[in-house]
Amino acid sequence: MAIELESKIEGLLFYKGEDVTIKKLAEFLAVSEASIEDALNKLDHSLLARGLVLVRKDDKVVLGITGELSPLIEKIRKEEINKELSKASLETLSIVLYKNGIGRSEIDYIRGVNSSFILRNLLVRGLIEKIVDSKDSRKILYRPTFGALSYMGITSIKELPNYEQVSLSLTDVINQNENND
């Protein structure tokens, strides 16, 4: 009996221990990206109530240990975990989480202060990462990392508290002004 695609993905992600792009998975397993997507959904389902979870973000996936085991893992971990978030970090991280891809000037605009120091801090902590804006290659955007999702104990951005509602109201407010112009 040939092993199912989702089990192959599981083994592969288990081996890697870090995030892998869907594209790379398709390449390794010599199947289409659509088949990978399909198999990932199956894997996600088969991991329910198990010790492992599939975390997905943008075009990448990673296998992690379910958040319910967090206290146990923390106990056996050697390095200490920094759970502190200053007010400024919390504010900035929230903006990056709910906007998922936002430039520094927009962050400064929302916060009303310069955020470069805080952004660097969040980068160093591995909670956010820089990407190049697909619409403008000169522009740098910030988005949350897998680390940020991990700390929140969620497997996708959509699981953020009140994600839909917060995104909608943000869009509403932003558009509201444009209509006024």
């Binding site: 967090s70 978030l85 504010e91 897998f146 104990g153 006024n180 112009d181």
Partner: protein, 253 residues
Amino acid sequence: MPEIISQYKVKQGTFEGPLDILLSLIEQRKLFVNEISLAEVTNDYIAYVKSLSEENRSINDVSYFILVAATLILIKSKSLLPNLDLTIDETEKIVDLEKRLKIYQIIKNASIDIKNNFGVNIIFTPVDRIWSEPMFLPDPSITIVNVTNCINDILKQVPKKEAKLPEIQIKKIINIDQIINSLTDRIQNAMNISFREFSQSHGAGDGDEMKVHIIVSFLAMLELVREGLIDVIQTASFGDIEMNKQVLINNEE
């Protein structure tokens, strides 16, 4: 109408920025974010900014607070002087501040949930896990020259301590108290003085400096209005604000 001493004291503790304090002042009053509530909190906001410049807070920080104060003063002036004509630019600034505050409010509320969930149930990935014994796998790029170039680039990019000099220069420009004193003197000497004339008489140089100057003068003027020292009269023909020594000084406090 004399200003009532505010019952809404700014809570102790640092605020992350002008929007943070502004929102907190509005929420203390259980108001919605709009022009009316902004006008209502203007005095408390300015009192807070004044206390900031007295503290040893970075002037860079304070300048952000002052920029927002300028817009607030526009809003407040509009509510005090209904026939005050605002330029398109000024109107946009008011709409923009309202919008920013609304965005900030959404983020602020969402961030409470983020805080409550952060680090509670962490999904760990086995970053520390390494399969098998390490295998020595060098790369041709590992050369003394490359490594030296790399480290020099890194040292160049490392964040430096903030330069102190420019801060001192800005400090001179935006000392609110100084301007209040100077304004008081001017009023005692002359019965009438136009705001525009006043703000120009400080002889600020380039455009940016000028802007900060006008803001601070405006702030100072508003402060004096609040303290009942002067009247603010809008003369429609000039579109400028005239300042007179108040005829009846009804309140010594």
